[in-house]
């Protein structure tokens, strides 16, 4: 009965996360979305602007951690969960958060990065969502990948979302991957 409450963004997040969590218990979740549920926000604001009563369902799901709340309810999962809205490097911030949870002893951490195509009204202000997407990763302790944060020494910002760029590196078998956002340059290195 809760599934009907899942927005498209939530469905994308569940679609990538559910198979990874299948059969596992007590898996902390790091949920990352820079813009969150912009279609829902836009509907609520439209109702407000038109002096219409707000939908209680929309309102109850309008907070950034609504998706992890539904995840917790539907999976009966009570592990630590966090919802992040970082800037353009939310993917790396999420990985860092997940790595901290692994460092605290979690055997595995689920990381979900997702963005929804924003309504047209937000178009001029949101330029980093080429299309709706979701990436799910089940992270476990190991040294296969290293992530190092450095200062931006004049690098050009990545043209595609970091999560997707990183996925491309992974699938191509690249040994390094670099993402720059404002003053920060994230260097990914895969163990040879």
């Amino acid at each position: 009965m809760q599934r009907r409450r899942l927005s498209r963004l939530a469905r994308m997040a569940f679609a990538v996360g559910w198979p990874l969590a299948e059969g596992l218990q007590d898996v902390p979740l790091v949920f990352v979305s820079r813009h969150g549920e912009t279609p829902r926000t836009f509907e609520i604001l439209s109702d407000l602007a038109n002096e219409q009563p707000l939908s209680p369902t929309q309102f109850s799901l309008s907070v950034h951690n609504a998706v992890i709340g539904l995840w917790s309810i539907m999976r009966g999962e009570t592990s630590e969960m966090t919802a992040l809205a970082a800037a353009g490097d939310g993917f790396e911030q999420g990985v860092l958060e997940a790595a901290c949870l692994l460092g605290e002893g979690a055997p595995a951490v689920l990381l979900i990065v997702t963005e929804e195509q924003p309504p047209a009204a937000y178009g001029p202000r949101i330029d980093d969502v080429p299309f709706a997407y979701a990436l799910g990763l089940l992270l476990t302790p190991g040294d296969e990948w290293q992530l190092h944060l450095g200062d931006n020494a004049g690098a050009v910002p990545s043209s595609e979302p970091h999560a997707l760029s990183w996925l491309r590196c992974l699938l191509k078998g690249d040994s390094t991957c670099t993402h720059t956002w404002k003053s920060r340059t994230w260097n990914w290195q895969r163990k040879p």
Binding site: R4, R5, P53, S55, P56, T57, S60
Partner: protein
């Protein structure tokens, strides 16, 4: 379906399905006397607020959320239909 009572019941069922986004369920699956909340159809408190809003919008009536008998009006489709009929006549 020609009888106005049945038509109203049917309309309310469609309203419930539409306003609450019920999936894989049609008006035929909801009984007139079936309990809507908790047991029965399994709706929850957020649904109660959402349904209250939808009823107020569609039928142009006012529902007092604090009134003692409001809870009873939301027991089933039949009780909601009776409530809407009484409010519209008033």
């Amino acid at each position: 379906m020609s009888d106005p009572q049945n038509t109203l019941n049917h309309d309310i069922k469609l309203l419930i399905i539409d306003a609450l986004g019920l999936e894989d369920i049609s008006a035929q699956d909801i009984g007139d006397e079936q309990t809507l909340f908790g047991e029965g159809l399994g709706l929850d408190s957020v649904d109660a607020l959402e349904l209250g809003l939808a009823i107020q919008k569609k039928y142009g009536i006012k529902i007092d959320a604090d009134a003692k008998d409001t809870r009873n009006h939301f027991t089933s489709v039949a009780s909601l239909a009776a409530f809407v009929t009484a409010k519209q006549a008033a």
